[in-house]
Amino acid sequence: MSPRDLAAASRECPILHVDMDAFYASVAVRDRPDLQDVPVIVGGGHRGVVLSANYLAREYGVRSAMPMTRARRLCPQAVVIPPEFATFTAVSSSVMENFRQVTPLVEALSLDEAFLDVSGSVRRLGSPYTIAEQLRARIYDEQGITCSVGVASTVAVAKLASRRAKPDGVVVVPPQSVTAFLHPLDVGELWGVGEKTTQMLNRLGLMTVGDIAHTPLATLQRAVGASLGAQLHQLAWGQDRRVVTPRRGADEPDKSMGADETFGRDTDDPEVILREILRLSAKVAGRMRTARVAGRTVTLRVRFADFTTITRSRTLGDATDVTQEIYQTAADLFTALGLQRARLRLVGVRMEGLLPRAAVQRQLVLGARESGWSEADQAVDRATLRFGAQAVRPATLLGEGRP
């Protein structure tokens, strides 16, 4: 179809799904002309996972969320770049700002994708297809990265369409071609269908979305449960919500914040584990202070070498954002596990029940010093802001090169 036809076809498709192409990888290589024509993988660590890979690397079968070791085996010549989240966040927020100049109805799904409802902007900016192309051009111009846009009348179809548009393209699915577009797709492409559900559906002989669409609803519900069954059936016929709820990705107050660390190699040394818990506590507390929230429940997550994972949590009397208090609670939880030489693969610290800091009261303690850990944390934050994350750290954490 010509651009003119696409523009006309998109008239009844006000929902845009914009997805950055290999976001982390694109951002990481945009200022590195030397990496333009080589496979690039963004990710970190000996045991890390692939966060993103450019299309050259994907040709070798590298996928995001794949273990780094496997990715290196598949594509030994790839250049591996550690992630720089500060840059990613900055790029993401300017991209989101571009979206908001088009329409206030922006639903950020993550750093690199969002739904836009442009029905109110058509008169001002042209057809949804035109808007999609304008956005792509502007983002490429300002950020030097490409994105793909799915244009449709419902959220789920727009998301599927953007996947078809990759890389660096636009796919318009007008209402009359929705079933023609959906039915040949694999069942696994549908929203809410993961590996397990795909297997189950395939066992029933349902390979494509069309198969699901033509299965009686009752049969489908017997196979996968009432709610998922109904949902799949609707999705298979392109019926889905048409409303985009404005939501700011990172600015939205989270209900919890946490950090995990997979050890370079499994460890049973309590000293190493507690040091890691301190580092994670400091990381989480720092993020909480930046977001100006405080939480009451500390949750410790422990994954053993055999991948069994347990969590333990404790709720404090008062909400806190103080590194030492979070660490002390998490460390107590760890000690209370009474592990005897159990080898751990991962520990995580999470704060739940977050409240805006301004609403949090604290019971003051008799005879406490006027300035305590809370003030120390604030001083650390100020130093970190000026001199970087390595500037001030607990002495226990000195001497390790990691940020």
């Binding site: 008062d318 303690v365 008799l366």
Partner: protein, 380 residues
């Protein structure tokens, strides 16, 4: 062993001794109550290695002897007996109890496995039992309940000549009670950290007689113990308990030496008002107290949720002040004060407030009991 005793006397003594029975005994015999007949009459004892209780009571002893029976069961039985004389005899491995036409047969436990009760230390002095019970009840309000901080679950008892100080704190509030007593020697000086729960229970249970003897042994071999002895039902009641280890924090200096605001309020009105306003204070939020020019305004709740406010009359000297407290901590202090008027002294909103009672709006504050309370503040 064979004896005959009045039902009321027995029931009262058994109930008293059974108070300190352990709920989950570490050794089965500790769930027992030891019955002994001696020249003094009848002796009932319980012990859980921490706290011991020993009651003597008059009885007609026919045969001397001793037996160990389930304390909980004996207490339940004695509570329900008809009002007739009770006769108990040992009969092989059983103790039989007869009261009127009711007969019970109780299994005995091996009496030779029962630990010896600790010796009561030498008497240090005596105190009026009602004054002591009231003073202890006031002091224990501020004691900590967190077993992670064992030192704070105790009441610090300091003896200095003719006065006793009781101090307790859970880090958020502090109670301090001074009372006078009659020491055995005029220059008596000692200090002990007594488990708050045992102290409160004991002081309350020894009000039948007019005096309580306090016996303290902190020096010498072994761990320190404290004993309390009073009289009831024609006999002697004696409790000993092991003192807590650890250093009680230096808390006396926490009382501010000066104040910038001094407010007086009718205690009953303030208690009522705090109870009402705190209904909307969600868990973990403060009741705010604003003192200004003859009025105390209480506020609670947040803008997003329910709110409440109320004003009551107050005499306010010095600067206006607004500060917030945990409502329960505030009520604990207020209800511990016996006087009809409460005096609150403040320095700054982030500093502790001192509460004390006064007989009237004009009378001097009674500083024998003071309650120091830390405010709640916004985090930022």
């Amino acid at each position: 062993m064979k004896f005959r005793v009045e039902r009321d006397v027995l029931a009262d003594a058994v109930a008293w001794a059974a108070r300190s029975l352990p709920v989950r005994p570490s050794v089965p015999v500790l769930a027992g109550l030891l019955i002994e007949t001696t020249d003094d009459g009848l002796v009932l004892s319980t012990f859980d290695y921490e706290t011991s209780a020993r009651a003597t009571l008059p009885a007609d002893v026919t045969d001397e002897g001793r037996a160990l029976v389930s304390g909980r069961l004996l207490a339940d039985i004695c509570r329900s007996l008809p009002n007739k004389p009770v006769e108990m005899t040992i009969d092989g491995a059983k103790v039989s109890l007869t009261c009127g036409s009711a007969r019970f047969s109780l299994q005995t436990m091996p009496v030779e496995e029962y630990p010896a009760l600790p010796e009561m230390p030498a008497a240090t002095g005596t105190v009026n039992s009602d004054v002591f019970a009231a003073a202890v009840a006031q002091a224990v309000v501020a004691a900590g309940r967190d077993d992670m901080l064992p030192v704070l679950t105790g009441v610090r008892l300091e003896i200095e000549g003719a006065s006793i100080s009781l101090l307790a704190t859970d880090r958020f509030r502090l109670s301090h009670r001074e009372l006078s007593w009659e020491p055995g020697v005029t220059d008596a000086s000692a200090a002990a950290l007594v488990p708050a729960k045992v102290l409160a229970d004991t002081a309350k249970s020894l009000t039948a007689g007019s005096q309580v003897t306090i016996a303290l042994s902190t020096s010498g071999a072994g761990e320190g113990i404290i004993g309390f002895e009073g009289s009831a039902g024609g006999g002697v009641r004696r409790t000993t308990t092991r003192l807590l280890d650890g250093e009680f924090p230096k808390v006396r200096t926490l009382f501010p030496t000066e104040h910038l605001t001094l407010a007086r309020v009718d205690k009953a009105s303030l208690v009522e008002s705090v109870k009402r306003v705190s209904l909307v204070a969600e868990r973990n939020t403060a009741v705010q107290l604003a003192f200004s020019d003859g009025v105390l305004t209480l506020d609670a709740g947040s803008g997003d949720e329910a709110q409440a406010s109320e004003s009551i009359e107050a005499s306010v000297e010095g600067d206006d002040i607004t500060t917030g407290f945990n409502p329960q901590f505030l009520l604990d202090g207020l209800t511990a004060i016996e006087a009809p008027v409460v005096e609150l002294a403040f320095t700054q909103a982030s500093k502790p407030a001192v509460m004390a009672g006064a007989r009237s709006m004009d009378a001097d504050a009674d500083l024998a009991f003071r309650y120091l309370l830390m405010p709640r503040r916004l985090l930022s």
